[in-house]
Symmetry: D3
Subunit: 262 residues, 6 copies
């Protein structure tokens, strides 16, 4: 099966890191393709960024000409997922909910370590809407911005571990990494902490495999029925925009599907 | 004071109707200006439409060159409000929450009559996130699409009234009209029903006057701190798009501020 | 329009201060009249005081011979409001709920600074019943009794500010002043804190203007239907009581309506 | 031990019926004394009635010159209990909460049959505040007013049974009689229904015996600390009111303690 | 009436202590019989222990040949109660819920002091399922294992008192002792703390007397209908097991009914 | 990897059917082994059955001498899972929670079709404790007992489909089959209904693969720490019981591991 992993921001180095994590955990036979939007913010740190990203991700999905069996949305707490569920007829997994759900399989409570404090309420609101907040013991920020995570990996692991300890003291039995940019650090943090650590990208990839494996997809019964036909001015936006090169390297316009079983 | 009322879709006739309602209820001294996005869907009927609209509204707000003292967002249940709160330093009122809040001032419980059944969960989720769901007795759809509301006003009032009766039987003591396109019908529905009927546009205009009247604005303490400086590809979008005329008439590119006290 | 602002206790100096705040924020054309009960406790600091005050307020309302367009109840967390809603055919605004609702228009969460710690659970229960508790981050007491607030205004502002800081640390993005006796201090506290501060009296006056401005009033559908006709022994009480002068000055038996627009 | 059972309204025949129920279930050695307020409404059917009754009950308690070991408040859903808990140093049991609590000992869910539909929200709010709403499946009104209950006992039992059947269909495994005036009917309704029926007066008497039997009383730690000393105008009210005879017979000014074990 | 108090573990000295507490609070005319399972864990400290105990308790109940009027289950937070409710036609009281319910009669909030920290989530889950969690301010562990409680009673009282102080600071107005093995210590802890302390065994005995006194028993309407007839391999287990002497003394195979009124 | 699927009852034909479903959905490389308890009820239809089964399942797990990488517990709503989580150091998946979690990946709400009405509250309580109830629209019983499901498969599919339609009308966007004995029917029901149908056994197998695939297991931090060492009378029970042949065929004492990829 082919899974599309969507980095919600335009930073190509983050797409690469997310692709690497997804590829590392994919089952034999699962191909990972990864992409980022053609326009929009280089990182998502608040609602304004998130709403721009939501539209940019939907634009990217609407114009992508490669088939895939499921979508993994690799932004933590950003909006847009329900729109993708309406647009696509394949299942859509979100790293916020996937991390929380996998954590709930491993302990009675979980907690989240994220980037900036300003993202904390946004993540809690996503979990509330998802019906997954009840067993969330705490969500804490590390104070690191999204793009700072890559700057000094040693320091990043230290700060995440320290924040995770607070979250455990607040009652969490399992820790979720609350940013797509933290993908790949789970093992080092878990080793230091002594409790299971779930990375949302990894969890969402495995859940996508599970859902596709059972031949299931999003219900069209009510909330996620396909969009109604109507006039949408300037849509798709990317067809009208003079797009330049992406930040952090050349834009990933052709996919680089990688199978994990080679 | 000057209030900007934002129709979230590009249908200019709906902007006109929303402006008329807002103007009718504005206090002496309150100027109403109204606008709609420069691109995006002609109506909002689901999450996909809503997320495109959210970005289009933020684009419009970012590029508008007229000052205003508060923003009224005239879409019922669509996302985007938190982004506007981050972007602007004036208060932002949302017709979903304003309708619910005013209803809660008038009765112990309220209910909402909206357009399509598919919007019901979306509205409930907005109220849940807003912390206003507890006293909501029911949200029911009429089965009418957003743009059908204008087609046959007599029939529209009848269908809304009939649906409102169900909502009252489900326990609501006050009815909210759950679509910006229903603005102006509240009195006729109330007369038929015998319980108070709140129109969100009217409620939000009065609340905007209240908040501005006290010199208050959005807290920047945490959730709604201003967006962080960063690279945003192709932003603002409208600066790069070849925009044509709006649907339903010429685009409302210049504002037509109207004072209600003449 | 004429708004009646009801101080729930018999301390006339507090009525004056509440009237001053209400008058200061009233729109041009809004007349503020203020009153206090003819009997009952000089301050409300607990349930016993509150229940006596509730009956005394209802007695006052039942015997008042001046017309008004809306009632503002200026006690924070005391019972009685629902009785006034049944008794009157004009809208009734309560400063506890009004403060919370206005705060929710300004931030994702709010917190309350009140007088004594013993009032904290009572306020939380009011918010719970009102369906407004979900976004309340914290309610803290200053340790100052209601009548101590007036004693040393400098100290009062300091203590409120210090307590408000704790409430902000507990997650509140907006602060509500949780006692009618704190009316008028919001600007000084806000200046020191850096987050918006809402005074309930001011909020309720503006909301009363909003509701009256739309021609709406309390639903009689169920919870707040008028009282049923029945024998009520010794009612109204004040007609039978040998009432002496009020505490804190001569009883305010004749109203001193003041228009804010002179 | 001596238990005071307080009928919240002034209808003496209802006091007699409540006393009879209480006496019938009291343990050997338990003396029941019963009283009603000296002023206030003849029945409680809404918030206005309830708030007057609350003050009248507190007045009665403040002036009663007979000792008792616990108070049973025999009004269903009326306010005032927390005031009595502050005022008295003996335990206070309320028939709303006692009925719900005993029902929760007998089944996973319970439901309530009350008098008028307008009391339904008031009862739900009491249960919400009490932390007992979660397992309440439904509260339904019979349409009978409080004083109508005594008019035709056969009809009353029939209507209660019919309403109770609806409540069972709504998921209740146990039924509570939701009015002090229904005391004594539980066995006949239970026989017809086939599920346990709890009368609040009976439950509260037994719980009062339980609490007194363990030497426990209300915590003064925070919510129910004694009232603070202060000036209260015209208090106690009954000392100043020219009280006439009670409705429904001569006022029960001297108690008629009856032991259940003679 | 005869109450059976069931110690969920096989430690006979704990049965004796529970019997002593139950006997001390029983009303005249109430006979207390006490028992423990014939097999299973010597103490309950986690879910595994609890599930074994649940089956062992049901086995004991199914094979006991002495009549009783109500069952008191003396384990704090262990599962099994609903099974006993299905099996028996007499009422079943559980010390976790009874303690919480009595505490809610005495204060607005309560808290629990238990043994090990690992039991805290288990107790919270029981309260959640019971619909009694809303007014629970905190559950804290003392760090003492169940069988350590008896080792040094002075130290036990000290540690419980210290932990109870934390729970009061966390908002509890009443304290519940959260282990059957703490029965009998409530008065000493209460004297040190200054807030009411409820022992679950004592509360459940009094509630059993209350329920039996009213002639009520478990509803068979839905959740607690009798078990359906079916093949159950090796049931009852104790009939097939080669049972040896119980831990902590000879097994209590014959009951030692003690009336409290001699 | 090897997954142990545990049928909680002793009916061997149901073990076979569960094994077949699990095997059919297992990934290449996943071996399914299946077992049932050595004693206990032939079906689980209520709490009493469930608590016996819980102990029997734990006994089976404690004495099994074959290694496995994860446990799938194939009973819907029965207790015991937390005990297995304490006992084992491999992950434990439960079909109730797994069905709900997979359904939440496919729609905003889900509903459950189960066997008898008496199981409905038990299932709701499991979901409540699991923190998964918020998005559950309804749980309905078909009226079919567990062992009746196999009797007439055509009729079973019809009745499930009819009940599922009610659940969809109650707001569910996805249906979960609420009994291990319904495993294998999901495709036929889905085809008739038009909304996705999730079988818990299938979901749990895929989630077990996901969790094992990431190298994760149950947190031992608090709730699910290993059982403390202690004396447990007659444990393991099966070592002392004279076990006869299982119902529905010879007892499955040796495993029949089947790989799904042959």
């Amino acid at each position: 099966m082919r899974l599309l992993v969507m980095n919600p921001n335009t930073t190509v180095s983050m797409t690469a890191s997310i692709r690497a994590t997804a590829t590392a955990v994919a089952a034999p036979g699962t191909q990972i393709i990864a992409a980022e939007p053609l326009w929009g913010p280089e990182s998502i740190e608040g609602h304004f960024d998130g709403f721009l990203s939501a539209a940019a991700v939907l634009d990217r999905l609407a114009t992508l000409d490669t088939p895939f069996d499921a979508l993994v949305m690799a932004g933590f707490g950003e909006p847009g997922r329900e729109g993708a569920q309406e647009l696509l007829d394949v299942p859509v997994l979100d790293i916020t909910e996937s991390a929380a759900q996998m954590a709930m399989m491993l302990g009675r409570t979980y907690g989240i370590v994220t980037t900036l404090d300003r993202s904390v309420p946004q993540i809690r609101d996503r979990l509330l809407t998802a019906g997954l907040l009840q067993r969330c013991a705490a969500v804490h920020g590390t104070g690191l911005g999204v793009l700072e995570l890559e700057a000094d990996p040693e320091r990043t692991v230290e700060v995440i571990t320290e924040t995770a300890r607070e979250v455990v003291r607040a009652g969490a039995e399992v820790i979720c990494l609350g940013c797509g940019g933290m993908a790949g650090l789970q093992e080092r943090v878990a080793a230091a902490l002594g409790v299971p650590v779930v990375d949302g990208v990894a969890a969402a990839v495995k859940f996508a495999e599970a859902v596709v494996g059972l031949g299931l997809t999003t219900s069209t019964a009510r909330s996620f029925a396909p969009p109604r036909p109507k006039a949408i001015g300037s849509w798709p936006l990317s067809a009208h925009l003079p797009l330049g090169p992406a930040r952090g390297g050349s834009r990933n316009t052709e996919f680089s599907p990688q199978t994990s079983d080679i």
